[in-house]
């Protein structure tokens, strides 16, 4: 992989080893320039204006939708812009789930889920008298097809699982799980927030029913994400929000709605963000997933090998297939450690990573998470490992 650091202004402004991509990726010049282009050249609303500038904004916004549809092999009307993956996953539960879920139905989730993919279903199940079923995780903390088979029943209506765990970095066998779920006529909702930045996604091949991801984890701006849904499912779903732009005809006592995706996008959408999102996708395509995966694997393996040789460090996911390392310094709270890294200009995450169920499953108060992307290089790993070693010594010496 060529040196990508020059593409990211923040990395040229200050000394920074950024290992928190799993929370938010850094933004490349190409995306920042695209946002500026919108605000400089056609900073107006979409769909409404019948003047040249508005036409240009509308076209750019629609192009963005097409670019993202192509990115996951979906069609244009199956891509809904949302505030992010969280609101996309909420939309599935609150609109589709609300419509179909009945008392006694079962919803399969896992302890690997981000809060945004378990709480919407948990709360809905509570309201509806449906049952929330957890796939038992393997010893390593994985969702396996075999374990999934154990919990799949004729009562399963919804399967809501993460594609790549945001803490463990494991890839879920979504394709096989979807095939099995469909045999029981259950629908499958996939949280792809950690997958889309690092893996090629083909929704036709996966055959999942819903899939969500966020721009800000894949070089894009904050405030925008996507819900993919199969057209026939989106067609039967009701909008959650009503207002401008989503309606066809408004009468005093009733109204009707546009077709998908527009019926789910009321109000002025995140125009600049969607256009920036598409540019981020183009940036990813230019590098290519083959190169991204190879690069992340190299960095992860180097880091895992080095960490494994430091006494008093525990890695919880040594076999993960994506660039996330979940670890702790034994007997030192991650919040203490992360301040040490911060002093060394290394940014990484300490806490429960919005996945409290997994942290409880691991039976630790919190963990440290290092995650890698294209702007990291081997020198970053060296700096990181050196810091871990010195942190280990420092905390041992002062009595931890």
């Amino acid at each position: 992989m060529q040196n990508r650091k020059k593409d990211f202004p923040i990395l040229n402004k200050q000394s920074l080893v950024y290992l928190d991509t799993a929370a938010s990726s850094l933004t490349p010049n190409a995306v920042i320039d695209k946002l500026n282009e919108y605000y400089n050249e056609y900073p107006v609303n979409v769909h409404r204006g019948v003047y040249k500038l508005s036409y240009r904004a509308t076209e750019a916004y629609q192009d963005a939708r097409q670019t993202i549809a192509d990115f996951i092999s979906a069609s244009f009307e199956e891509v809904i812009f949302t505030r992010g993956a969280s609101s996309a996953l909420n939309l599935v539960a609150l609109s589709y789930g609300e419509k179909v879920l009945k008392s006694g139905d079962e919803v399969i989730v896992s302890e690997l889920e981000h809060h945004s993919h378990v709480l919407p279903w948990q709360q809905l199940a509570k309201r509806k008298g449906a049952k929330l079923i957890y796939v038992p995780l393997s010893k390593a903390g994985r969702i396996t097809v075999d374990a999934f088979k154990q919990v799949l029943t004729d009562r399963t209506k919804i399967v809501a699982l993460t594609y790549v765990s945001n803490v463990m970095g494991y890839e879920t066998p979504i394709k096989e799980i979807t095939r099995l779920a469909h045999q029981k006529n259950a629908i499958v909702s996939v949280d792809a927030a950690q997958a889309a930045p690092h893996r090629a996604i083909d929704v036709n091949d996966l055959d999942c029913d819903f899939l969500a991801f966020s721009a800000h984890k894949m070089f894009g701006p904050t405030g925008v994400g996507v819900l993919y849904g199969k057209k026939r499912l989106l067609d039967i779903m009701d909008p959650l929000e009503f207002g401008g732009d989503m309606n066809d005809n408004v009468d005093k006592f009733d109204g009707d709605w546009k077709d998908t995706p527009y019926k789910f996008e009321t109000g002025t959408p995140p125009i600049a963000e969607a256009i920036g999102f598409a540019e981020a996708v183009r940036y990813i395509k230019k590098i290519g997933f083959k190169a991204i995966i190879a690069h992340e694997n190299t960095l992860r393996q180097k880091a895992v090998d080095a960490l494994s040789n430091i006494k008093g460090v525990t890695i919880y996911n040594p076999t993960a297939e994506t660039g996330i390392i979940n670890f702790n310094l034994d007997d030192v709270h991650p919040h203490d450690v992360v301040s040490f890294f911060d002093e060394d200009h290394i940014a990484l995450r300490a806490g429960h990573h919005c996945a409290q169920l997994l942290i409880k499953w691991l039976n630790v108060p919190a963990t440290l998470r290092a995650s890698f992307y294209v702007y990291n290089d081997e020198a970053d790993i060296d700096t990181f490992i050196d810091s871990v070693k010195r942190a280990r010594t420092f905390f041992s010496d002062i009595g931890f």
């Binding site: 919040h335 203490d336 420092f394 009595g399």
Partner: protein, 148 residues
């Protein structure tokens, strides 16, 4: 040299490794307050016995980083035996100190002064404040009780 060394001072490490007044009591006369920092998992409960305008006892329990846990221990040993008014002043002074606000330096913060270093670590101010915030809420509860 790491600035961290100036933060993790002897006093803090001592209270972290050998916490005073740790463990809650099953006693209804105590006022309990629980505070959680959901982003990092710090989780502290402060249990206080107030009688005739005096802080008779403070207990604490919870989990968190060294700054969070040690500050609960420091708080308990510092404020035990003080009048409610004194405890209130010390608490106010401490919280102002770690939040880099002007604070009354004539009030003796004793061991709690060690936490002044936390101002250099803005991301850790929350860790140093949780226990004290829980205690502040306790005093508020106590004053409401007396008002009734």
């Amino acid at each position: 040299m790491h600035q961290l060394e100036t933060l993790y001072r002897q006093i803090i490490m001592d209270h972290y490794k050998n916490p005073r007044n740790k463990g809650l009591l099953d006693d209804d006369r105590y006022i309990k307050n629980h505070i959680k920092n959901p982003s990092c998992g710090d989780d502290i409960t402060i249990q206080t016995l107030i009688k005739s305008g005096e802080v008779k006892d403070i207990r604490h329990e919870g989990s968190g980083c060294s700054i969070c846990c040690s500050s609960a221990s420091v708080l308990s040993s510092l404020l035990k035996g003080k009048t409610v008014d004194e405890a209130q002043q010390v608490t106010k002074s401490y919280l102002n100190m770690i939040m880099k606000q002007p604070f009354d330096e004539s009030i003796d913060l004793e061991d709690a002064l060690a936490y002044q270093g936390v101002t250099k670590f803005p991301a850790r101010v929350k860790c140093a404040s949780i226990a004290w915030k829980a205690f502040e809420a306790t005093l508020k509860k106590a004053s409401e009780k007396t008002d009734e």
